[in-house]
Amino acid sequence: MIVLLILIPIAAAIAIMAGAPARPAALGAALLNLVLGAIFALTFTGNPDDGGLTIQILEKPNIHLALGLYDGMSIILMLLTVIVTFAAVLSGRCPEGTERIWFPSTLFIAAGALGAFLSTDLFFFYAFHELALIPTFIMIGMLGRGDRKEAAWKITIYLAFGSIVLLAGLLWLVNAAGADSLLFDDLLASTIPADQQKGIAAFLLVGFGILVSLFPFHSWAAPAYASAPAPVSMLHAGVLKKFGLYGLLRLYPMISEGLQPWLTWLIVLLLGNILWVGFVTINQKRLDLMLGNSSVMHMGYVFLAIAALIAAGSESANPIAKPAAIVLMFAHGVSIALLFGLSDRIERKTGTLELRDLGGLAKSAPSLAFLFGLAGLASIGLPGLANFAGEVLVFLSGFKEFADDPAGGLGPIQVATILSLWGVVISAVYILRAYRRTFQGPVVTATDGARDLTFAERIPAVFLAFFLILPGLYPNTLIQFMAHDAPSAEPPQIVHDADRPPLGIPRWSPGEGSMLTEH
């Protein structure tokens, strides 16, 4: 059943390319996905096999097309994807005549992201992410704004490089693990020799790090998001970028020891994300570049939670870190998608995103101002909105070690947390500056007579805002999905393909002769 979540957008995308009415088909697929995603999440019982499927694709290496809700982390990210996809499809501003590229690409990105988050097999976990990247590149290169060639070039080179490093790391990991198959169950049950963990961890950190724009591999992000069409920046910054963090958290138990030696480096880099990029963000003169940089900066907080997890040594030693990272990922995804969606609206209504050309927009467009303000305040961690819940949990996870043993004094993670907290001030500076420049003050030429959001334009924004407010007021609505996360005691049995019978046995049944075997 879960496979529907991936099949629906792909089917819709193909149908659109074949000539189906683009917008209705895309919207229908996104809506259907949203409903299905909600149903799957709410009816999830904690058994990863429920509604999942496992099809063996190759025997050696033992690869399965395995999909399913592996744990709460998958559920929350799946929900994030269907939510942002719906809003992205709904709010896409498609240039005349490009519907057959625009909507299928958007849907393919969504399908790829869903596939990556729902795969319970390492191979497809990686492959689906790559599937999502291709339409991203295409959309930026073909339908982007401004310096789109340059931006597409940069993001392609960068992410391809990151993917290659990641692939090398994953190959090493699989090799070292020596598990029966590439299923997460088998991989996580295996152990990697300590002497190899360090190298694997380095590859995975760099590979995933580049995909998440970890400092200093971050400079592709802002120009790419600024040039990308709105749905792409919403989906990539909001959803797809979380793939790297998800991957680190997912594979963390396998390389928990190997990550320890890199802790200091990770802390330095994440502080680079928060403080250095934070300052860079302050200096941005365009709204979209500022938002792009801010999304880079906020990734630092998720890395902080991961660093706390690494320092603690296991999930049980710091039970706050993982939920903190996941909640913050969800919150950041929704808020940055809303911000990019609305900044696209601002450009549409005023014709510019240069901060110095804007002003007083709140007068003529109060709903736009309200929603942008809400999203902006969410992204700087105002309580009552989802990001705060994530951030406060991240900070708590950073101090968990100190809380357990105050006599030990402040460790490196605590110092990093304290320094990261300054980022809360930095982000307030740039968001409020941008809001002040764009919406407040006297009306200027560009904003004179700019019209407010129409009812149709408000729907996706209010929809996203709802998912900032609900977990913000009561974070347990999200965290409860992770209550199931106790790893299952025994991994499910994989039935391997029976040996082929010798020639001449005249029996053919769907089971034995076919290349696909379903279980």
């Binding site: 080179i157 250095w276 860079v280 941005q284 309580p383 009552g384 809380a403 407040q440 992770m482």
Partner: protein, 610 residues
């Protein structure tokens, strides 16, 4: 569900209802908002004697750890709720008149309801995380309300400044909370254990104090409060005089009350007390030279907050009594400072939004009711002995600056502030109400409508009676007068002396003046320019933050983007060029390469493998 949750539900429901639909009807929005605060006021009166309900729910739960939202309704929070909802109700009523014709009336009342919700949350919070949540939310509602007239550049800038300065304070506050979590073992006030003294505890307390420095506008983060006067005047009365800015004092005293005053029995208490005293002194000096009626009051608020902080900080020496003195002053100050602000609001309203006191004058004849109430509030602020509430609380604070009946340096600072207060308030009163009108607006001023005058009258009554023992005694956690103090006579003499001196001096200097006679004095110029602190901060921001940002941006573009990313992409482009040469488009060439490839593969697989 406990009925106590209604404290939070009423204002939240009002704010949500206004934002979700009522905002189209401004009058209805205002009515709903006022109704909600009236309901919470009734609740706080009803529950004045209730027990601690201790009801809570899990807000964020992970395995083995949970953040809770819980209510703590004890002697302290009950009293504080009475102050918050009382002032809140009167300010709402006053606003009905003051904001009658404003375009953003619905938005304004929505902001007020959000504020009431958040402030209630701070007061009733039973743990530190919850308090931080609402702590930030009051900052947010303050941002909304200061920036109510967002089209004015000055208002938008002031709102931004207030939020950012508070954020700086909250930066320290959050670190303090996290450290205290480790040291005291819990976030929940009642479960915290008094940690052993040590440098970590001192640091934690100072960091927690950072939050109070931001919220209660203590030096060096006091700069936002005077600018916050850009907001509508009732907002200044409610948020920036009576309740929100007092949250810092409340929070520090909440710690002392629930965990123990010994938390401050180290260098942190000393430092807090001195920062409070320094703020009181600096703000009082600055207040002597302000021309904007609201700014005078704002600096006066800073100065009084400094008193309270000083008292709370002295708890390290004097135990809970010192903190109670601070809370007592908070309680009396709330009424009379709200009255002063609402009075100034009435004046501004009457003078067609004129705020410069030198363009007023002679208002006493035109606005008798307002003048009378303003006079009562002024008397309370300058602490006329035995008549008004302000006297009792200021006595208690001065008493705390004595050590076993002997004077300390803090005592002299406090007494000097007690001299400056009557001086600048006399200046304000004379210039505003006496003499002749100095502008067209002041000539046309008439008494404000009843809906605005009524809150003034109620507040005037409260400003007088709030300090009397039978009334203050209802709020036991806020009344320090339960024992004998040494040196009461000394304090009484000092405060009476300074009062007379201050009033006399003010009267002599400012009687029948049309301009400030001290304005040209070099020393007073420094006061007028607020010790150039704002200018210094502007430079710090420009040369600190903005320059760092520009440098970081430059290096980001040049080093990381240019060399690192650029190197990668140039490398890729170089490889691409290399292989491009091979792609000649010549089929025969490809065939040859293909054949060579086959031969190589055969050679490597067949002949190279053993």
């Amino acid at each position: 569900m406990d009925p106590f949750w209604l404290f939070l539900i009423f204002p939240f429901a009002a704010a949500a209802a206004i934002q979700l639909g009522l905002k189209r009807n401004a009058r209805l929005s205002a009515f709903v908002s006022t109704l909600s605060v009236a309901a919470t006021f009734v609740l706080s009166v009803v529950f004045l004697g209730s027990d601690n309900p201790n009801s809570h729910f899990n807000w964020a739960t992970t395995s083995g750890f949970s953040i809770q939202i819980g209510l703590q309704l004890d002697a302290l929070s009950r009293g504080m709720m009475f102050v918050v909802t009382g002032v809140g109700l009167l300010v709402h009523v006053f606003s009905l008149g003051y904001m009658k014709d404003d375009d953003g009336k619905a938005r304004y009342f929505c902001g007020l309801s959000i504020f009431m919700f958040s402030m209630t949350g701070i007061v009733l919070a039973d743990n530190f995380i919850m308090m931080f949540i609402f702590w930030e939310l009051v900052g947010f509602s303050s941002y909304l309300l200061i920036g109510h007239w967002f089209q004015k550049d000055s208002a938008a800038d002031a709102a931004k400044k207030a939020f950012l300065v508070n954020r700086i304070g909250d930066f320290g506050f959050m670190i303090g909370i996290l450290m205290l979590w480790g040291l005291a073992g819990s976030f929940v006030f009642d479960s915290m254990e008094l940690p052993a003294q040590g440098p970590l505890l001192t640091a934690a307390m100072l960091l927690v104090f950072c939050g109070a420095v931001g919220k209660s506008a203590q030096f060096p983060l006091h700069v936002w409060l005077p600018d916050a006067m850009e907001g509508p005047t009732p907002v200044s009365a409610l948020i920036h005089a009576a309740t929100m800015v007092a949250a810092g004092v409340y929070m520090l005293f909440r710690l002392q009350f629930s965990v123990g005053a010994d938390l401050f029995a180290n260098a942190s208490g000393e430092i807090i007390a001195w920062i409070g005293a320094g703020t009181a002194l600096l703000a009082a000096l600055m207040a002597t030279q302000q021309d904007d009626i609201k700014r005078v009051l704002a600096y006066s608020t800073l100065s009084q907050l400094g008193y309270m902080i000083m008292a709370v900080g002295l708890a390290g020496h004097h135990g809970l009594t010192a903190g109670e003195a601070g809370m007592f002053h908070l309680y009396t100050h709330a009424w009379f400072k709200a009255l002063l602000f609402l009075g100034s609001g009435a004046i501004i309203y009457a003078c067609h939004h004129e705020q410069d006191i030198w363009k007023m004058g002679g208002l006493a004849k035109r606005m008798r009711g307002t003048t009378a109430t303003f006079a009562i509030a002024t008397a309370a602020l300058i602490a006329v002995p035995y008549l008004v509430s302000g006297f009792y609380s200021k006595e208690e604070i001065l008493m705390q600056t004595l050590s076993h009946g002997h004077v300390t340096p803090l005592f002299f600072v406090a007494v000097f502030v007690a001299f400056l207060t009557p001086f600048y308030m006399t200046r304000l009163f004379i210039v505003t109400f006496l003499g002749k009108p100095r502008s067209h607006g002041a000539e046309e001023a008439r008494e404000v409508p009843t809906v605005m005058l009524l809150p003034l009258l109620i507040l005037a009554v409260l400003s007088v009676v709030a300090g009397f023992k039978p009334i203050a005694g209802m709020f036991s956690a806020m009344d320090p007068r339960h024992g004998h103090h040494d040196g009461a006579a000394l304090v009484l003499a000092a405060s009476a002396g300074t009062l007379v001196a201050g009033v006399l001096l003010g009267f002599l200097v400012y009687r029948r003046r049309d301009a400030d006679p001290l304005a040209s004095n070099a020393l007073f110029k420094v006061f007028r320019n607020k010790f150039y602190i704002d200018e210094a901060y502007a430079k710090v921001v420009r040369f600190g933050q903005d320059a760092v940002a520009a440098i970081a941006h430059f290096f980001d573009e040049f080093l990381i983007n240019g060399l690192l990313v650029g190197g990668l992409s140039r490398g890729a482009a170089g490889f691409g060029n290399l292989f491009r040469r091979l792609q000649s488009g010549n089929l025969q060439g490809y065939a040859i390469l293909f054949a060579i490839g086959i031969l190589l593969v055969i050679y490597l697989t067949v002949f190279m493998t053993p």
